[in-house]
Amino acid sequence: MAGKPMLHYFNGRGRMESTRWLLAAAGVEFEEKLIESPEDLKKLVNEGSLMFQQVPMVEIDGMKLVQTRAILNYIATKYNLYGKDIKERALIDMYVEGVADLGEMILLLPVAPPGEKDAKLALIKEKTTNRYFPAFEKVLKSHGQDYLVGNKLSRADIHLVELIYYVEELDPSLIANFPLLKALKARVSSLPTVKKFLQPGSQRKPPLDQKTLEQGRKIFK
């Protein structure tokens, strides 16, 4: 009765990529309906499928979920990647929101006004090495366990590792002084489901190129 989750978004990472990572890491097969024109988006809006007229939208278990965090929270809970109690969930949320804050800066970099791009990139690098990476390295150091929370893989590890890949795309040297983060990245990347997702041919989306950016701009104005 329940088919595979269906993801509605345009053909790029954007705000849907963390959902793709999470589903893939959880070993959940999913389908994608790619929005390729303003008309495609309008159709979804007119159908009433988008609560706030926005994507991402994921059809799952009879619901049309919108709002990235609502989608991620649902998937993480359903597939047991959200800790064992509300205290573990609070720690996971703290880490995930920090990842999201840095992730948001990186996400928006391509659409920064040209004159501001260099300054924004410098800020991202600075925050990565002075605020965010030290915070997560400290967590791993404090308990010496393989994963951020509860000695078990959770969404916090998956979102952080995804972020590490994006940081490395910007500047591979930024992770140099964070041995525990490097180890986490290696460990999570070698999990069978994640390893599969990292192979060519998976549903993982590449970095934004000019063509995809233009398409995104047309669709989302």
């Binding site: 609560m51 706030f52 007229q53 278990d61 619901m63 979920l65 919108v66 709002q67 990235t68 965090r69 609502a70 929270n73 649902y74 809970t77 359903k78 509300i86 205290k87 969930r89 609070a90 720690l91 949320d93 703290m94 995930v96 929101e97 920090g98 804050d101 605020r131 965010y132 915070a135």
Partner: protein, 222 residues
């Protein structure tokens, strides 16, 4: 052993106000440490209790929780305001995230430049009445119940009331096309814990005035 939750922020609404609302609605007494100067804020950072050197921070149940959503979700779950099952949680999350978008617009409005102000206000009101409020009016109309999710009070209702009141501060007649939201507002405002929070003398913070805005800018360097 567990004392009252303690909130660390400056003396204004900002990103802490939703947390104050949720605790108050849940009937939870809380303390606040409100800083007035940059030095006080920096002292807190030096103390090492801010994971990302940012506030809001709430000391609760032995944790120094930061990140607004992490704090709100913990409180909602702890005080049974987060639905009874995963699907209800998803609906609450969708509603709350939508409100946050609108909430952020209203919250950032005082920081917009003077020449941007009229445009920002028009934009906020347009979004409120065309994108956001219709969703909540429809939700209430579709199921005919008193609350947004699961026929009982949840975090979504509390957040909605908070945003309605903030929108009305921007434009008192903003709910004029939304009869069910008007009834909702009256009904939820009368819940005893919420009613108490709406009285003068509660820990609810007033809208940002010029003086508080300057203090906040100085404290947070923004």
């Amino acid at each position: 052993m567990a004392g009252k939750p303690k909130l660390y922020y400056f003396n204004g609404r900002g990103r802490m106000e939703s947390i104050r609302w949720l605790l108050a609605a849940a009937g939870v007494e809380f303390e606040e440490e409100l800083f007035e100067t940059r030095e006080e804020f920096e002292k807190l950072i030096q103390g090492g209790s801010l994971m990302y050197e940012q506030v809001p921070m709430v000391e609760i149940d032995g944790m120094n929780l930061v990140e607004t959503r992490a704090i709100l979700r913990y409180i909602a779950a702890k005080y049974d305001l987060y639905g009874r099952n995963l699907k209800e949680q998803a609906w609450i999350d969708m509603y709350v995230e939508g409100l946050k978008d609108l909430n952020d617009m209203i919250m950032l409005f005082p920081f917009s430049l003077p020449e941007e102000k009229k445009m920002s206000l028009d934009y906020i009101l347009e979004r409120a009445t065309k994108r956001f409020f219709p969703v909540y009016e429809k939700a209430l109309r579709d199921h005919g119940q008193d609350f947004l999710v699961g026929n009982r009070l949840s975090w979504a209702d509390i957040q909605l009331l908070e945003v309605i009141l903030m929108a009305e501060e921007c434009k008192p007649s903003v709910l004029s096309g939304f009869p069910l939201l008007q009834e909702f507002k009256a009904r939820v405002s009368h819940i005893p814990t919420i009613n108490k929070f709406l009285q003068p003398g509660s820990q609810r913070k007033p809208p940002l005035d010029e003086e508080s805005l300057e203090t906040m800018k100085k404290t947070f360097n923004c």
